[in-house]
């Protein structure tokens, strides 16, 4: 058996039972790699359950910066007897299996081509701790200590992290470090440490941060000046509101009175959540909500109203597998059409598609500016994988001179000075009319908001031509939107073939394209970041012979949107889909794409 012999390129997976307190030990390990200057990609793979079901946590360390999911495992920490057999099978030949050796190894978990590292965790904790809860919790810390020895994770780094986490609670720090030490000593005594597969300190992360996208979306809302949030709990979006509330409670307290410069209302459902957002925006505050697919379905009626009545609204959709029951804690990019064309009637919405936590922050701020500039709902379409898992990200920055763009609002002075206000009149040719906030002026600027029965002056109408005129203006406005949203990121070297992708797929694309290049397949690339699509998207597609549209849903929704929105020959858009609920891997993409190219590229649809 040949052992894996590599430095700073590994996949470590923990198999745990949900609710066993493993999460903090596992993220401690992830963070320690990051602190050692190494690019890292941690992923939590969890069930829709609070206690009892299997859960996995996977960390990819890559000096080359390939932090997306790889698909196979080098070191597996097997702490769940329910999944033991499957877990053992996932380890690559020459890899390592760390298990609790208090009891003899389950014979079904025997393989000749992997290494077994037994740690008598139950035995140690029973001897060391009185309370059952402590025995369970410290098991996790003890294996973390053992990994420190086995993989070469600097022990001081782990101690520092614990010290920061439990700052001021010295007793807790002490017991945790003691548990770490126990694990470390055991591994060092019984195994040759570190293993040939190990990590070493590098200086590869610079001033980057390790953060999840939901936190940065919430922070973006704080920095955008959002003052109202209405929401209803749903995984994986809840932590957006949690982050907004947490930071607002720190950063948005009036120093004089100690009172809040924001209001968060937990609604009775998503219909109420979006209703609140629309009411608050109508009334001149920046308001937002966060939800996931099922919530988008419930919010659809209101989204249509906001589109027609031209009320700004910011909505965050952290996508997950549909529908409400089934695999709600797994990743997908399957709400695209539900968001882009949400609601009845002729309605369509602006979407922002971030790929990194930094982009989540930037787009969150931008969403508010765009919603008010365009007077329409803007949906930030994130993903579970991006929202709930930490990624290495550029630090968050704002332009020190930034101030919000509240769009076209006729204020008291303008009305007083004789500005002729008509709610739905396009005076600038960009399709965007002026609005007023309620309560602005005693005699001027009041208007009545209703769905579609208004003419350009804001008066009530049921006349066909007037309705149509208004609807045409909304199309002009949508074309304006295409010039204001973040453009696609393009690498065009004049090759005939190209890949098109967006969202979390971006994380595995460098690795995918490097490997394809090694195999002799060269592609140009375009990463979409928004909807409606800008001219650069059409130019790119038109100048390539074949464009592989890679997305994480079954129905090739982005491909459909490209076909709906643009004059594109469908034959050149080759669909590559991955939708098993796990984040797409480079391995999968390389195999699928190279298989396609090698076969002469005749198939129209490629999927798992």
């Amino acid at each position: 058996m040949s052992d894996l012999n590599r430095v700073n390129e590994l996949v470590l997976r923990f198999a745990n039972v949900n609710g066993s307190g493993s999460a903090s030990a596992n993220s401690l390990i992830a963070k320690s790699f990051f602190r050692m200057g190494l690019p890292v990609g941690p992923k939590n793979i969890f069930p829709s359950n609070i206690q009892g079901l299997p859960t996995w946590y996977e960390i990819r360390v890559s000096e080359k910066g390939h932090t997306g999911r790889r698909g196979s495992v080098d070191v597996l920490v097997a702490m769940n007897s329910q999944t033991f057999q499957q877990d053992v099978a996932d380890v690559v030949p020459g890899g390592y299996l760390v298990y609790d050796s208090t009891k003899p190894l389950n014979p079904h978990g025997r393989r000749d081509d992997i290494n077994y590292i037994g740690l008598p965790l139950t035995q140690i904790t029973v001897a060391k701790y009185e309370q059952a809860r402590h025995r369970q919790l410290f098991k996790n810390i003890i294996y973390a200590g053992a990994l420190s020895a086995l993989l070469g994770i600097e022990f001081e780094v782990l101690c520092d992290l614990l010290g920061e986490q439990f700052k001021g609670r010295d007793k807790i720090i002490e017991t945790n470090i003691d548990a770490l030490q126990t694990g470390y000593d055991y591994a060092a005594k019984f195994y040759d440490c570190p293993l040939p597969l190990r990590v070493e300190r590098r200086d590869l992360v610079g001033d980057k941060i390790l953060i999840d996208g939901n936190s940065t979306v919430g922070l973006g809302a704080v920095y955008a000046g959002a003052t109202v949030a209405g929401w209803y709990p749903i995984t994986p979006s809840t932590s957006v509101i949690d982050a907004y509330t947490k930071y607002a409670e720190k950063l948005r307290i009036d120093p004089q009175t100690g009172r809040r410069l924001f209001g968060v209302a937990q609604a009775e459902d998503e219909l109420a959540a979006i209703g609140m957002v629309i009411g608050a925006n109508w009334n001149g505050a920046r308001a937002f909500t966060a939800t996931s697919g099922p919530g988008i379905s419930l919010m659809s009626e209101f989204l249509g109203l906001a589109y027609y009545a031209e009320i700004p609204a910011v909505l965050v959709d952290v996508q997950r597998c549909g529908p409400s029951t089934g695999m709600p804690t797994r990743n997908q990019q399957s709400d695209l059409m539900a968001c882009a064309y949400a609601s009845h009637g002729d309605s369509r919405h602006v979407l922002l598609l971030p790929s990194t936590p930094k982009e989540c922050f930037d787009f969150s701020m931008l969403a508010f500016d765009l919603a008010e500039r365009l007077q329409t709902p803007v949906i930030l379409v994130s993903e579970l994988e991006l929202g709930m898992n930490d990624s290495v990200s550029e630090p968050l920055t704002i332009d020190p001179d930034y101030s919000w763009d509240r769009g076209k609002v006729a204020n008291y002075e303008m009305l007083e000075e004789g500005f002729e206000f008509y709610r739905y009149l396009d005076i600038d040719g960009d399709g965007i009319p002026y609005r007023t906030y309620p309560g602005t002026h005693p005699t001027k600027g009041a208007f009545f908001t209703r769905g579609s029965g208004h003419n350009k002056y804001g008066g009530y109408t049921e006349k066909g031509p007037e309705y149509q005129e208004n609807m045409e203006r909304l199309l002009v406005k949508f074309r304006t939107a295409a010039t204001l949203v973040p453009p696609a990121i393009i690498e065009d070297k004049g090759r005939p073939d190209a890949v098109l992708f967006f969202g979390t797929t971006a994380e595995v694309m460098p690795e995918t394209l490097e490997e394809l290049q090694r195999q002799g397949h060269l592609f140009d690339q375009i990463r979409l970041r928004s909807f409606p699509f800008g001219d650069e998207v059409w130019q790119f597609i038109n100048s390539h012979e074949r464009v592989l549209v890679i997305e994480q849903n079954r129905d090739a929704q982005m491909r459909s949107m490209l076909m709906i929105e643009g004059d594109v020959n469908p034959a050149k858009l080759i669909s590559v889909t991955h939708y098993d609920g796990m984040p797409v891997t480079a391995e999968f993409l390389v195999a699928t794409i190279s298989g396609h190219v090698d076969n002469g590229g005749s198939r129209q649809r490629l999927s798992a």
Partner: protein, 350 residues
């Protein structure tokens, strides 16, 4: 179609403290059926706002969907209005109120809008104790979709012929009391003398005020197709030509003394048994109010008047601990935590 009324006013016409005439509180001409109770409620709202000297532009009118929810176009033309989504007025008002606590909020809804599709939102806005007037224009039917039973249909239905309502009624007043509303009243659209003060009280109340206002629908009734409604038409000698013919009807008006009852004949021939609260009725006792309502219900009487008020209210903004200024008035400098704070946030993720 609505159009603007000419604003020619006589110089000697009465003005309120703010120098506004009653006309300044009016809206476009109503497009509801002649005689619709909802129009009387609009008139009462106009009167109340005028008498209270409220600046019209500091009032926001928000409604759901239905004939009742259309009415905000027909009063307070100088106020911003929002005809939103069926049953969801409460959430829109909630958001608007969080954004700007300084406006006066009038939420207008129907019995279908509140007691069916919007029942959940209604319950939760009561719980949230939002400072607003919640006006239900209760006609026992879905007017705008042509006369289906609504969940409040019961009143009067006992004395009606035709197909009886097979379901129990939801009494919104009892619901509001149960859920903790601090101002609860029932009015009748035809009793302006009682309704205007009830609205004034509600608008002056610093918390959640609910008025369930019985408002006859002249065009549909609880048992569409029954001969009774046609009887009414025949009585007035109007030939029935088509099924959707809307008979001209006179607005029903009543005027009677507190502590007494009155019987009101509705357009469909049914009879409403109204009972005005005694002058010595104690509106500060919630338990008594609930019992009183149950007693009335047993006796087939509909109690009208100020049923319960608790002047000692906790506003939603107190619960949320928001600043005294409207959130919508805060400028970016007040809201921006600054570059330094962002730097230390970055540092906490390294």
């Amino acid at each position: 179609m609505s159009y603007i009324k000419p604003k020619v006013t006589h110089p000697a016409i009465a003005k309120n403290e703010l120098g506004f005439t009653r006309r300044d509180y009016e809206g476009s001409i109503s497009t509801l059926c002649a005689g619709c109770g909802h129009d009387s409620i609009s008139a009462a709202l106009i009167q109340a706002c005028y008498e209270l000297d409220l600046p019209p532009h500091r009032i926001a009118k928000i409604s759901g969907i239905g004939c009742s929810s259309k009415t905000p176009t027909y009063f307070l033309g100088a106020s911003h209005g929002f005809n939103s989504v069926h049953g969801r007025m409460p959430s829109v008002v909630t958001g608007a109120n969080i954004a700007n606590k300084d406006l006066v909020y009038i939420g207008v809804s129907g019995d279908g809008d509140t007691a069916s599709i919007g029942f959940g939102q209604f319950s939760h806005i009561v719980r949230r104790r939002l400072n607003m007037l919640y006006m239900v224009e209760n006609n026992g039917v879905y007017g705008l979709t042509k006369g289906q039973f609504s969940a409040t249909a019961d009143f009067g239905s006992a004395s009606k012929g035709g197909v009886p309502n097979p379901f129990d009624q939801i009494d919104l007043i009892q619901m509001a009391l149960q859920l903790g509303a601090t101002y609860v009243a029932r009015g009748f659209s035809g009793d302006k003398k009682q309704l205007v003060p009830l609205i004034k009280g509600a608008l002056s109340h610093p918390g959640f005020a609910m008025i369930d206002c019985i408002s006859p629908c002249v065009t549909f009734n609880n048992h569409e197709g029954s001969t009774r409604s046609y009887e009414y038409v025949r009585e007035h000698d109007v030939p029935v030509v088509t099924a959707d013919y809307v008979p001209y009807a006179k607005t029903i008006r009543v005027d009677y003394e507190p502590g007494t009852g009155t019987q009101v004949k509705m357009h469909d021939g049914s009879v409403l048994n109204l009972h005005k609260l005694d002058e010595d009725y104690d509106p500060y006792d919630r338990k008594k109010a609930i019992n009183y309502l149950l007693d009335c219900q047993e006796q087939g009487k509909i109690a009208t008047g100020m049923l319960y008020v608790n002047p000692d209210v906790t506003d939603f903004h107190d619960i949320m601990k928001t600043v005294d200024e409207p959130l919508s008035s805060l400028n970016y400098d007040r809201l921006n935590p600054g570059v330094e704070a962002l730097e230390s946030i970055n540092a906490s993720f390294r």
